[in-house]
């Protein structure tokens, strides 16, 4: 089985193409099954966020699977491959492992170290489990990825840089308003980055929180979390008149807040300053809004830039995280390789042991008056014989690095000794329990 990932992200594709290829949340399960139906794909998972669209798959026919997946993307979204092929990246095997580890650890994110992506990958994985399209390989891979993400978060300062983006927002707000006390914040939309910033502002002393969302229910539930007030989406302009700080993070493809609208709002506000934080991509707020007097507009890139200036050892931390990821990739790949041979070795040993036990019993029943010492000698003798016989082939299997040759040996062993076919799966199931434990540990990390 080979792992592969095919997709595009904010670095390789403009927002237009990303939007074309994005899978709407409610259609994701259906799309997963569609991919699963491809004969070349054994397991699959789709990650679709505003910054990336990626299909992860486990396959036995790598070339065919890559071709099939590209075809699937074209057909599903009704666009021709030419339009987005340049933006696509394909990683196979070790590279695919490294890719998902980096993505989960937020090393591939627009805001380095932002916490959102891990949750999004968790959701994608949960959905693939629900749809029954992820199997044991992806299962193991993802749990490893979560583990790596946790390590990166706790062992490097990468995550701090994302936090510092929020604290930069607070710092800026304080430079504008002096104190955050008695100030009102308006949250438009939702998202982890948005909530993180809001939380920082609340910690900074913000008094009132208004929340609005296209879906009023979501606004209400988020408002409850912050002990704020939900306001209907249509009343946003009214909300703008009452607030000092606006955090916007919607998925809207066009601007929600425009220059002329704000000029008018400012008149109603008697020019009271207002601070816009635009976390959305594409932007929610027209950049020209920042030119209006007493309006301060920062988008996520601006905040990031300011935050970068604050973090001196940033490069070092990123390097540390990359090294950590590399270690984990090696570990996983070694484990993954051994996965191919270990069940066969176990099965082989089991088979030999069964034969030995059976034959030993026969012999012992023919000679009932052997002393205990003699029985033990026989036991030792037979064990020694099978160990000696198995030593060379097992060592050879473990040392074979080339997958094609290992496969050849494995197939030969299975045929020659009549080993059971499904050994890989039964072997992997043992890992399930161990992973459950890891998952509970992971929950603490959130």
């Amino acid at each position: 089985m080979e792992l592969l990932v095919i997709g595009l992200n904010h670095n390789t594709a403009p927002i237009g193409i990303r939007e074309c290829l994005a899978f709407p949340e409610d259609k994701l399960e259906e799309a997963l099954s569609g991919v699963h139906a491809l004969s070349s794909v054994k397991e699959d998972m789709i990650v679709s966020t505003c910054n990336r669209v990626e299909v992860y798959a486990a396959t036995r026919e790598t070339e065919k699977a890559i071709h099939d997946l590209k075809e699937f993307l074209c057909q599903y979204h009704g666009i021709s491959l030419k339009e987005f092929e340049k933006s696509l990246y394909t990683h196979v095997g070790e590279e695919a492992v490294r890719h998902i580890f980096r993505v989960a650890s937020s090393l591939d994110s627009m805001v380095l170290g932002e916490p959102q992506i891990l949750g999004q990958i968790k959701d994608a994985y949960d959905l693939s489990q629900q749809a029954n399209t992820s199997g044991l390989v992806l299962h193991r891979l993802l749990h490893r990825a979560f583990h790596v993400a946790k390590r990166v978060r706790t062992e490097t300062k990468i995550a701090i840089s994302a936090v510092s983006v929020s604290s930069v927002a607070v710092e800026l707000a304080e430079k504008i308003f002096g104190t955050l006390e008695k100030k009102t914040v308006l949250l438009i939309g939702a998202g982890e980055m948005c909530e993180l910033a809001a939380r920082h502002l609340v910690a900074g002393g913000v008094e009132r929180m208004l929340v609005t969302n296209r879906t009023y229910e979501r606004a209400v539930s988020l408002a409850q979390e912050f002990r704020g007030e939900a306001i209907p989406f249509e009343d946003m302009t009214q909300g703008l008149k009452k607030t000092d700080i606006v955090i916007s993070a919607t998925n809207s493809p066009q601007y929600l807040i425009g220059h002329d609208q704000i000029t008018k709002v400012m008149k109603d506000r008697r020019q009271k300053p207002i601070f816009f934080i635009d976390i959305a991509d594409p932007r929610d707020i027209e950049p020209k809004v920042g030119e209006v007097e007493n309006v301060y507009l920062y988008n996520i890139d601006d905040l990031q830039k300011v935050a970068n200036e604050n973090i001196k050892d940033r490069g070092k931390e990123a390097q540390k995280a990359e090294t950590l990821v590399q270690d984990e990739v090696v570990k996983f790949v070694n484990w993954y390789r051994s996965l191919d041979v270990t069940p066969t070795i176990v099965a082989l040993r089991k088979k030999f042991e069964e034969i030995r036990k059976k034959e030993l019993e026969k012999t012992l029943s023919l000679h009932p008056n052997l002393s205990d010492k003699e029985k033990k000698s026989l036991e030792a003798l037979t064990s020694a014989i099978i160990n000696k016989i198995l030593h060379t082939p097992i060592t050879l299997l473990k040392q074979t690095n080339e997958e094609a040759i290992a496969d050849l040996y494995l197939d030969a062993l299975h045929v020659l000794f009549g080993l059971p076919e499904k050994s890989l799966e039964t072997f992997l199931e043992k890992f399930e329990e161990k992973d459950e434990e890891e998952e509970t540990n992971l929950e603490d990390a959130f």
């Binding site: 430079k175 504008i176 308003f177 002096g178 008697r270 020019q271 300053p273 007493n294 601006d302 200036e309």
Partner: protein
């Protein structure tokens, strides 16, 4: 005697200015505290200079340009020390002390002899007129500094630069509030200065208003600040516009005080050099 105190005060203001500038460069709290102490001693020496001159001359020493400049600088430093007590804006000293220093150096270059008071200045109203006017001017100097700081800080925030400059300046909201507050104190004082001046003019020249250049320019200054106050109160002007207006107002103050004396002859020119 007063000249020695004055020179010593100037020297301390110079040291204070250097310490305040060093504070801006290195952002070490100890430097600003040091500067504040130096300037306080400078203020004490300056106060002694004014007092000794008052006793030597026998009149309130605000009769010629040297005395006026000295008095103006003394008020500015006094306000700085008061502001230091109330607000923790360490950088304010870095703005105000150099201004006071320049006034002092200017004064040092002028004749300082004590002459018998010109008959026209022998009036109950004259000291009040000058004190009100200069207190107003000194307060407007603060308004001016807050305006300049506001424009710098606003530029930093709009240009998305959160660097060394932004860190050293207070928040926009505080700067705007203080600018407004100082305007609210400065404007009535300027008004009182003009009114007492008119009353004194009636005694001295027989008319309340003579349209001499000083009077005309103080009226222009008054109108500028009146407009600013009006806009703030009614339209809710704030921030950038208010800051620019405060700077314009201060330029008018400077011209009324210095420009008119040096460039435009008129009734007030008795205080040109002598």
């Amino acid at each position: 005697m007063d000249i020695y105190f004055f020179k010593f005060a100037s020297f301390l203001y110079l040291s204070g200015t250097l310490a305040y500038l060093a504070y801006v460069l290195f952002l070490k709290g100890v430097l600003s505290r040091m500067a504040a102490v130096i300037v306080s001693f400078g203020f004490a020496s300056h106060t002694l200079a004014i007092l000794t001159r008052y006793f030597e001359a026998g009149y309130t020493p605000v009769t010629n340009l040297y005395e006026s400049l000295s008095f103006f600088a003394w008020m500015i430093i006094g306000l700085l020390l008061m502001a230091n007590l109330k607000y923790k804006i360490k950088v304010l000293g870095s703005f105000l002390t150099p201004i006071a220093l320049i006034l002092m150096l200017f004064a040092l270059a002028l004749p300082k002899e004590i002459f018998p008071l010109a008959p026209v200045l022998k009036s109950f109203w004259h000291p009040f007129h000058v004190i009100f006017a200069f207190l107003g001017n000194a307060i407007f100097t603060l308004t001016f500094c807050f305006g300049v700081m506001y424009l710098i800080q606003e530029h930093q925030l709009k240009a998305k630069k959160m660097g060394a400059i932004a860190k050293r300046l207070p928040s926009l909201s505080l700067l705007d509030d203080l600018s407004y507050l100082s305007l609210k104190f400065g404007f009535p004082l300027l008004t009182l200065g003009i009114i007492t001046g008119a009353v004194w003019a009636e005694y001295a020249w027989g008319r309340y208003w003579n349209w001499d250049p000083k009077e005309t320019w103080s009226l222009i200054t008054w109108l500028l600040y009146a407009a600013l106050l009006h806009q703030r109160l009614t339209v809710g002007w704030r921030g950038r516009k208010a800051a620019i207006m405060a700077i314009a107002g201060f330029l008018a103050v400077l011209f009324t005080f210095l420009g008119v004396n040096l460039l435009l002859p008129g009734l007030h020119t008795y205080s040109k050099w002598q």
